[in-house]
């Protein structure tokens, strides 16, 4: 264990010594890699902020059931049993709204009380609202549609309004964004690997004599390769840190603009930085990309020295 730890400490120290010798080049490489990482990190941050909102919107899809005007109240109230049977084992909250209550609500919320009073007769029907816990995810939108068809066939039902369409649209949009982000991340991840691959290639060329001498004095391949792996991982880690820092800083001016926009919709929506665990994950991913670039470069270029 001590031997293993010592070997890794030596490799890390060797990597740091070589980076310190050309700080300008190292910083420039960090900058290039950070720029490539900043774009997908921004996307991840935006998605992470939008996701809870979309989840909140997609829960409890509702089916509004409007009964025929001439339906007697007893039949209307009795429909609850049929609705419960139609919903079957799916957990659903079924709320009956008598036409009188609906009118009162309309008067209160719409500000059209005077206009509605002049109508004389209540134009609103009795209605039910089904809140379906079993359809929390948007993929179940199809099931909601099928259920709506079954309810439509019940006696006394005039209109059935399903509000799952927008849930499906939103979910589809988020899926498209997620896929686009994945493709973008894959492309830019390849760019990161290519940049680090080239950086390590140049280091191998610079340290050619040291590598050859090390081989002659009995260094194993892993001893020679390890500092390059650390260099790649460090480069990825530093670039990841810089990219995350830049994205977090960019949220401030963005939030100022968003706050003004959200106020128009009586919302206090703000973009928040990623949680620490997600940030740690992205840093690990950046270091991993650096390591992959270094691995590929070392395998290719050091094998030539053999």
């Amino acid at each position: 264990m001590t031997y293993w730890f010592r070997q890794h400490r030596y490799a890390l120290a060797a990597a740091l010594v070589h980076l310190r010798r050309s700080p300008g080049g190292f910083l420039f490489n960090i900058l290039v890699v950070a720029i490539a990482l900043a774009l997908p990190f921004t996307g991840v941050t935006l998605l992470d902020n939008v996701r809870p909102m979309s989840e909140q919107l997609s829960v409890d899809p509702e089916i509004s059931v409007f009964l025929k005007q001439e339906t007697p109240r007893e039949q209307a109230e009795g429909l609850a049993v049929l609705l419960r049977q139609t919903v079957k084992d799916k957990q659903a909250k079924i709320v009956f709204t008598p036409r009188e209550k609906a009118l009162d609500q309309l008067k209160t919320k719409s500000g059209l009380a005077d206009v509605l009073t002049t109508l004389g007769e209540n134009p609103l029907p009795d209605s039910y609202v089904l809140k379906l816990d079993a359809f929390r995810n948007a993929q179940a939108g199809g099931d909601v549609d099928q259920l709506a068809e079954e309810i439509r066939a019940l006696p006394g039902v005039d209109t059935v309004q399903v509000d799952s369409a927008w849930v499906k649209r939103l979910a589809a949009l988020i899926n498209v964004l997620r896929l686009a982000l994945l493709l973008l991340a894959a492309t830019l991840g390849t760019v990161v690997i290519a940049v680090i691959f080239n950086t390590i290639r140049l280091q191998v060329m610079t340290q050619r004599e040291e590598i050859l001498v090390s081989k002659l004095i009995g260094a194993t391949d892993s001893f020679i390769h390890r500092p390059f792996y650390y260099t790649g991982a460090l480069l990825g880690l530093c670039a990841g840190g810089l990219a995350l820092g830049a994205v977090t800083l960019a949220l401030r001016p963005l939030n100022t603009a968003i706050a003004e926009f959200a106020r128009l919709y009586a919302s206090e929506f703000q973009l928040a930085p990623l949680p620490p665990l997600a940030m740690a994950g992205l840093l690990a991913l950046s270091a991993g990309l650096g390591l992959i670039g270094a691995l590929l470069s070392v395998q290719r270029h050091l094998s030539k020295l053999n």
Binding site: Y3, R6, R21, V213, L216, I217, G218, T220
Partner: protein
Amino acid sequence: MIEFRNVSKQYSPDAMALRDVSFTVEKGELVFLAGPSGAGKSTLLKMIAAMERPSAGHVIVNGQDIAKIKPSAVPFLRRNLGLIFQQQRLLTDRNILANVMMPLLVTGASRHQAELRARAALDKVGLLDRADSQPLALSGGEQQRVSIARAIVNRPQVILADEPTANLDRASANKVLDALKAFHSVGVTCLISSHDEQMLDAAARVIHLNHGQLEVAA
């Protein structure tokens, strides 16, 4: 300790470096390899360090056949060999102490232990007071003595020196030779290639090579 059995090395159809060479070097021997440039001396030494593989025959070093040795075993073979080159191959981006510490660090020795032993090795070649100097600040003879210190710091069983005095003046060459003899006197097997007549005159055993063939294996 080192055995060449009908060894040939052919780089290309018209470039035969060694032809059917056979000899043995026993443990603790001091053997000189003599011959003109292109005789095959360097190729022979490279084979012992597994830097080259024979085209035919067997090179046995410490019981291991170089023709069959696995690449992963080569570093461990080399840790028992001290290699000294005509061009010293010191790393100019670090001081001579760091250069001498390298063979120990690659074997996993602690930095503290490596420094102690490197200083002791530099002391043996008379360069302890130059431990913190850069290699380029040293004369050719001093650089060669540093490379000897680097070769012996790991306490190898065999020292292979390829023309270690070729670019040195007589005084420096003598110091290098004295250092090598000192290590031989404590039981280290030494195989030294040279075309320095004065050096060869003082040798107990000389193997002569010419055009890749053994002329005299005394």
